[in-house]
Amino acid sequence: MTYQLYAGTGSTPLARPTNLIELTRGINQSVATGTALILPTIRATNSGHGVTVNNTTGEITLPGGYDYYVQASIEINRNANTESFRIAFTDSGGTEITAANGGFDCVYEWHNSSTTTNVPNFTLSAVYVSTSPLSSIFLKCMSMTSGSVMTTNTSIIIVQVPK
């Protein structure tokens, strides 16, 4: 028995497989407001998925003919215990993709008045999901002071479903 994501009207097998694509980075990256997170290392369950990452700008290209679910799992070493931050997917012009267009940010807001030390980092999740996807997206820091670092535990999983 095989398992695959269901798509279509219910009787025709998919002509192409669903692809799972992983984006990671081998070294930490310094980040601040406006920085694009760059995850250039690609692994995938099938070849020919066509997803690319610009190693300089962080641009992620999404070939047409597919529906996409893109989930980023993000770990940040904050530059201070009191630091808050927000990360979201943007379009090629740097404009945040709204929920109405399938963009869902992640937010860490520091609230505690006491100092917290020696605790594991949290991970947060940002999502871009669409059945009429943009051809180019970025994962960007929308607010974060300089001195913070995105760790190598950060990754993006792309579920690419043929139409």
Binding site: L5, Y6, A7, T9, Y108, T116, V161
Partner: protein, 142 residues
């Protein structure tokens, strides 16, 4: 190979969210989702699964220190709390965070799925609540 029935042509990917903040969340409340894509929803929150699906949900809570700093959630199937694939975690030190859970539905036919608040401690005060609830899912064929 067989496929589960759907109501028309839909993507394997579906999602839902609430477009406005939900305030004053109490124990037992449903987290509202008023906007749905590729799936049928309900004004009181939740989505109707029309095929075997894996469903993942998360929310962003809001409030100051001491408000909504401990939240537990469960997906419910119809009115019954669903224990399978359940996970929650909020950081008490950081009141604004995401809480998440997963649900895997087996079998066929439509069932109502809600993202349900089962514990909110301490009780939220005015101004606290859920900024955004999100539900993401994948229909699978077996």
């Amino acid at each position: 190979m067989s496929y589960f029935p759907t109501s028309g042509s839909r993507s394997a990917i579906f999602w839902a969210y609430n477009s406005t903040a939900q305030t004053g969340v109490q124990v037992g409340d449903y987290f509202e989702v008023d906007t749905t894509h590729e799936i049928t929803g309900n004004v009181s929150g939740g989505v109707t699964l029309d095929a075997t699906s894996l469903v993942y949900g998360e929310m962003q809570t809001s409030g100051t220190v001491g408000q909504l700093d401990k939240v537990q959630t469960k997906f419910t199937r119809n009115s019954q709390a669903e224990g399978r694939g359940f996970q929650v975690a909020t950081n008490k030190a950081d009141a604004y965070d995401c809480d998440d859970g997963t649900y895997a539905k087996s079998g066929t036919g439509s069932q109502f799925l809600r993202y349900n608040a089962t514990q909110v401690s301490p009780a939220p005060t005015l101004g606290s609540g859920v900024d955004q609830t999100r539900i993401f899912g994948f229909r699978v064929e077996s």
